[in-house]
Amino acid sequence: MSDGGWLLLAILLSSLGPGLAIFFLPERRYGLRTLLNLGGAGTKLVLVGWLLLSVLRGDEYQLSIPLLPGIDFVLAADALSLLFATLSAVLWFVTTVYAIGYLEGSPRRSRFFGFFSLCVSATVGIALSGNLITLLIFYELLTLATWPLVVHRGTPAALRAGRLYLGYTLTSGLVLFTAIVWLTLLAGAEPFVPGGYLGELATTHETTLKVLFVMLMIGFGVKAALVPLHSWLPIAMVAPAPVSALLHAVAVVKAGAFGIVRVVNDVYGAEVAMELGLAAGLVVIAAITILYGSIQALRTDDLKQRLAFSTVSQVSYIVLGVALAGPLGVIGGLVHLVHQGITKITLFFCAGNFAETLGIHKISELDGVGRRMPLTMLAFTLGALGMIGLPPLAGFVTKWHLGLGALEAQFHWVLVVLIASSLLNAAYFLPPVIRGWLGERRTPWHEHLVEHSGPTRFETHWMLLVPTLFVAALSLLGGLLAGMSLSPLDWVTLIVERDYSIPGFAP
Amino acid sequence: MEWLAQQLAPGLIYPTAGALLFALGLYGLIRRHHLVLRILALNIMGSGVFMVLLGIAARGEGAPDPVAQALTLTGIVVAVSATAFALALVVRLARITGQAMMLPGPPDDEAPVDDISREEHAPSAEYEREHRE
């Protein structure tokens, strides 16, 4: 327990503790469960904020418990982990509020929120893990914690989705497990070191490292939904809205991307990745995924399916950024980690609202919804435009830096891919927006929520609306105030500046 | 002649016979299916082992090795207690399944499972019926 280790542990336990307590809470204890939930989320937010400020000042935080002779369970807080941890903490708080509203009166909520908190602790664990083995431990824990949420509804469809999800993730988990054991055998259980710790191994074990990289990519690729391994994500959309919002927009998918970022930057290091030609391979896969995701999104009529396919392609932006291995590319990739999280969660919240309030699942049913639910439709439009990458919004910042990164790394054809994908984004995001505002609703709305739990003061339950608007505002500010200090972009530049000694980087 | 006598010293013939008895018992165990016959086969294998042990003890001129004899005595008593319990089990199996032949395969999974922790231990019907006469 070296210095400041207790803070990391406290962050982890702030969601694990309430989570386990909620498990054993009988169903009717509504008040205590909400208190525990929000209390946990709040404490985590405060602790992460404190950690953020102290890491900004440059303090060092580390916690290591001996697990096996020579192998330790290490938690460490560097700038990159803070980025992901803050994103998770903030969005967890918002999604908890949303989930409480969404699951009003539905059965088995203790079990839901128990696993929900387990998920977030696993995500924060992934963010704070100091070496590959700890990352693996939390990564597999995330699989176990998310499966019950995917099958929460208990319908045959949900269980089939769950089985597929487990099939993909467990198999890839085993490949990852074997790869990490092999790597630890070769290079020892080293903590993450910016610029990679493989050292002379890169020269002696050329082919082994290539094979290991492919295995690691398969391991992380499933959660990061790279093309051949992505088909579980759209099918897992059968889960309730808060699950698909937090997990499939933020926790699970980002965990995969975050793992790839760690491997490329902190295990192999940018130079070794470029030398072995791995970065180039990754760029190609990322590009394919971006295009494939967008095309698939076009073809589905179901709103959540479309958002799922858009997540598949958006996450590959992050992978693309990191794979470009140039400073600007990495900045583009990392900042998209935050922007995509915030924007996508807005879209999922809106989709959840439409489904919960008016029972709308298909895009074709969206005609004239703007008139019935103006605020949610506004948030949806902001999210959609952000995704497309219009200048004032967050999406633009990412695509701008990715473009510069591509030029810097001489991958000119990547620029074409970016432009094409932006057009495709527009192609599948604009029709719902246009339908929402300009469409005519001939038949009266089927008031699903009102029947269910009586009239609401605003257009829908306040606990559904407030989080949506909050997150929409965040995505707007992320774009507008990109230049300000403590904005996502600024923090990412700090990361790249401090942690990545990439040759020839002129701030 | 002398070589033959030396070869056929008890220290060699009896262990060999013991080994043959062990093999004979093993053969019987594999071939026969009736449980009582299988228990007999196991007893014969046991006697084979003890014959090898006492044959070894008889090697050399002096009195046979007391430790080996003590082991055999212990072995015999263990054999009789195992046989007694096995026979009690055979009788119980015959009472339940009506035959004392062990079917080769394991019983099917759908066999009725009555869990002891649930049923109160009422004196079994047949016990009552017998005692009433």
Binding site: - | Y14, F22, H34, L73, A84, S124
Partner: protein, 331 residues
């Protein structure tokens, strides 16, 4: 010359043993198999006498042939009565006079199928052959006999086998008594004792002979127990003889067994094991170690343990013969 005679005797005896064993395992009628098995036991006792191991011969005859034979015969009788009972339970079957074909059914094992003959025989021959070759390669190693003689002075008894059993390797003997007890606990856990199906032989002959034989058996048993400290004999053989006497008593009056009160019966059964451990624990603190006796107290302690062991073994063997929990145990 006499060595040659002995060799001939050995060969004839072993041939007889193997022949009887083969016939016993090959016979289709169980009653014949059991009778042959008892003969096998007696021949075995003869073999142990030939190998100058009188203790083992005594034990083999009393336990191996006697008690095991009795257990087997009573099991056959129980199987027969179960078969008759089941047949009586099925009205559709033709009534059978004295359960003759039931006897046929329960105590008859059809000859095994031909196809398993070759693999079984070859497997057994391979195992036997390997063992014989291993045994033939063994040197004429001298066993632990000299070591035992060295320590005989301290062991408290003059007979080497009793010294090994109750002093040098007391732990094994203790566990052996425990195994006999566990076998009984196992038999008792299977179910309550069911009335012995043996049909009492009418007429005064059996009770009369018993009145003559049982006292003689008890005197012999006690003699063998006492003789154990300096001559072949000891607790297990004595226990077996007393057990045999008990079984004879049970056979004489199968219907109305005495309602043995539960606690004294249990105390009797565990006397051997309990006393052995108690003295062993005392030995742990004041003696040389667990299950060890202070040298000067060795002889009396061994005698006390032997008496308790004989009592326990006799009771356990009789209870195993009855093979059912006494009714008293369940109230």
């Amino acid at each position: 010359m006499s060595n040659l005679l002995l060799v001939i005797f050995d060969l004839v005896l072993l041939a007889g043993l193997l022949g009887v064993a083969w016939r016993c395992l090959a016979s289709t009628d169980l009653f014949r198999a059991v009778v042959l098995f008892i003969t096998f036991g007696l021949l075995l006792a003869l073999a142990w006498v030939r190998l100058e191991a009188p203790d083992i011969a005594l034990a083999e005859a009393a336990i191996g042939a006697g008690i095991t034979g009795a257990l087997l015969l009573v099991t056959l009788e129980r199987l027969r009565s179960i078969a008759v009972e089941r047949r009586r339970g099925r009205p559709d079957q033709p009534p059978d006079p004295a359960g003759a074909d039931a006897l046929l059914h329960a105590l008859h094992d059809p000859p095994p199928p031909r196809r398993t003959f070759v693999p079984a025989l070859s497997f057994a021959l391979v195992v036997g052959g390997l063992m014989v070759t291993a045994l033939w390669h063994q040197p004429d190693a001298v066993g632990l006999e000299p070591v035992v003689d060295e320590h005989m002075g301290v062991s408290g008894v003059d007979h080497p086998i009793t010294a090994v059993l109750l002093n040098f390797r007391a732990y094994d003997t203790f566990l052996e008594l425990a195994i006999v007890l566990i076998a009984l606990l196992g038999a008792w856990s299977l179910g309550r004792y069911d009335r012995l199906p043996a049909r009492p032989a009418p007429g005064p002959i059996l009770p009369g002979t018993l009145r003559l034989l049982v006292p003689v058996a008890i005197v012999t048993g006690v003699y063998i127990l006492w003789a154990g400290s300096h001559a072949p004999g000891g607790a297990f053989q004595a226990g077996a003889i007393l057990g045999a006497a008990g079984i004879l008593l049970v056979l004489a009056r199968p219907r109305d067994l005495p309602m043995a009160p539960s606690t004294p019966l249990r105390l009797g059964l565990t006397a051997g094991v309990g006393l052995f451990l108690a003295i062993g624990i005392v030995g742990l603190f004041i003696g040389p170690g667990l299950l060890g006796y202070p040298p000067e107290w060795a002889y009396p302690l061994i005698i006390v343990i032997e008496i308790a062991a004989t009592l326990s073994i006799a009771l356990t063997l009789v209870a195993l013969f009855i093979a059912g929990r006494p009714a008293g145990d369940d109230h």
